[in-house]
Symmetry: C2
Subunit: 280 residues, 2 copies
Amino acid sequence: MATRFHKKTKALQRSAGSPIGVFDSGLGGLTVVRELRRLLPSEEILYLGDLAHLPYGTKSTGEIRRRSAECARFLMKKKIKALVIACNSASSVAHKDLARILPVPVLDVITPAVEEALATTRNQRVGVIATYATIESRSYAKALEARSPEAQYFLKPCPLFVPLAEEGWLDGKIAEGAAEKYLAPIRRKQIDTLILGCTHYPLLKSAIAKVMGPKVRLVDSAIPTALRLKTLLQKKGLLSPRPRRAPLKIFVTDYVRNFARIGESFLGEKLKTVKLVKVP
Amino acid sequence: MATRFHKKTKALQRSAGSPIGVFDSGLGGLTVVRELRRLLPSEEILYLGDLAHLPYGTKSTGEIRRRSAECARFLMKKKIKALVIACNSASSVAHKDLARILPVPVLDVITPAVEEALATTRNQRVGVIATYATIESRSYAKALEARSPEAQYFLKPCPLFVPLAEEGWLDGKIAEGAAEKYLAPIRRKQIDTLILGCTHYPLLKSAIAKVMGPKVRLVDSAIPTALRLKTLLQKKGLLSPRPRRAPLKIFVTDYVRNFARIGESFLGEKLKTVKLVKVP
């Protein structure tokens, strides 16, 4: 894999006008794109949703690495200047590899969320909600332990949040009932910071906030990830000089049910350019 | 495919003591096994859950046919005397093929449910709830139209019901809230019969019944499917002569999260013999 990447990419020229590549197994990563568009409106973004192979969360580590490498390869061919892995499963198993191999900066969504949470917490009690797959991968647990041995963390899988977000049932008694049922045990741990460890969860922010109360700060990884990318591009002199809002191009390896409705609710704007592509 | 089946199976001897084979992409088919065990306690059952490839609902027709053929081949090698396709997606696209090719009776779960519903309805107004994939396949619509041109039917996908069943949130305000939200439009159509067109849904029967009211009869395909199999085995002289309760053997191509808890809630008894197998 390393060799194939190397051969194909070392000769490429990256400039400030090059696009930013983002990939995810699904459409959830569009919540990250939404923040990138807000913070870096002049940056052209290429988003690849590997819908033909979703969800990554239930795949083996090897298979997630392989899919991530293919997604990265697809975007690298389009001469991106930076890559954002907007998928928790891929972030937890493929980030190190891709960061080592690729000649462009590679950001995950876990590290920025964990650093933001640790910078925010005052009582060193942090909660993490995510899918079963992410919780079981222990990627948040490991990232928190590595950065702050004294912090205590509490993990809770919330499997119904993804279908609720995809149904568009974002508030009201069903969403709040589910949030209450999942979050009551974690609220009793007196955490003051809660990481939304799944790209779908920001859509349920208001139901989650209602249950957790005003004293608990919610950390949506999209925001610190976008901030980190901005700082990084600034440092490298790679911020786009484009004076107006740049385009967003979306590539998908398949279409899923309610594709446009779900995508637009995650992105917060209309889906314009969407292209079906093959990523082997 | 036909040839491979033929070569391997034509020489096999099936007797009344042979087992019944059942397959599904997941564990939902165990709601069918539960009824088979209730109605035919002397019959040995071999259940294959193709968990490594679930869900079938989002796969292409060709891929579902291929997976179904592989599952059937696996069970045929174990000398089953009848095959039950306990999966709505596989029933809708692979039943005809398998019934033509295999030298044993092959039952689907759609036909028995549709016939039961048409025998039950008095006002010829039938509702069907199922996953998006099943609704979009139009398999229920076609089966209803073919058997009763005068019946009116109303279809409604209920995507949250599967994760609710798998979380074990079977009643209470969240399940009932979701049922109310999904079923209110179909209740207004004044149906008197509602087909539960997904093997997960029988677990939510009480929440569904509460919303639909006492005048609507719920049709759970497991019951008419088990009845049809019993009649068929009787006719062919293939009912098991075993005097005591026969064993149930479960084969899975992978394990899924909360495997035992979910499986036992569907089956209504402890999972005893579970074996991990490869089905290419």
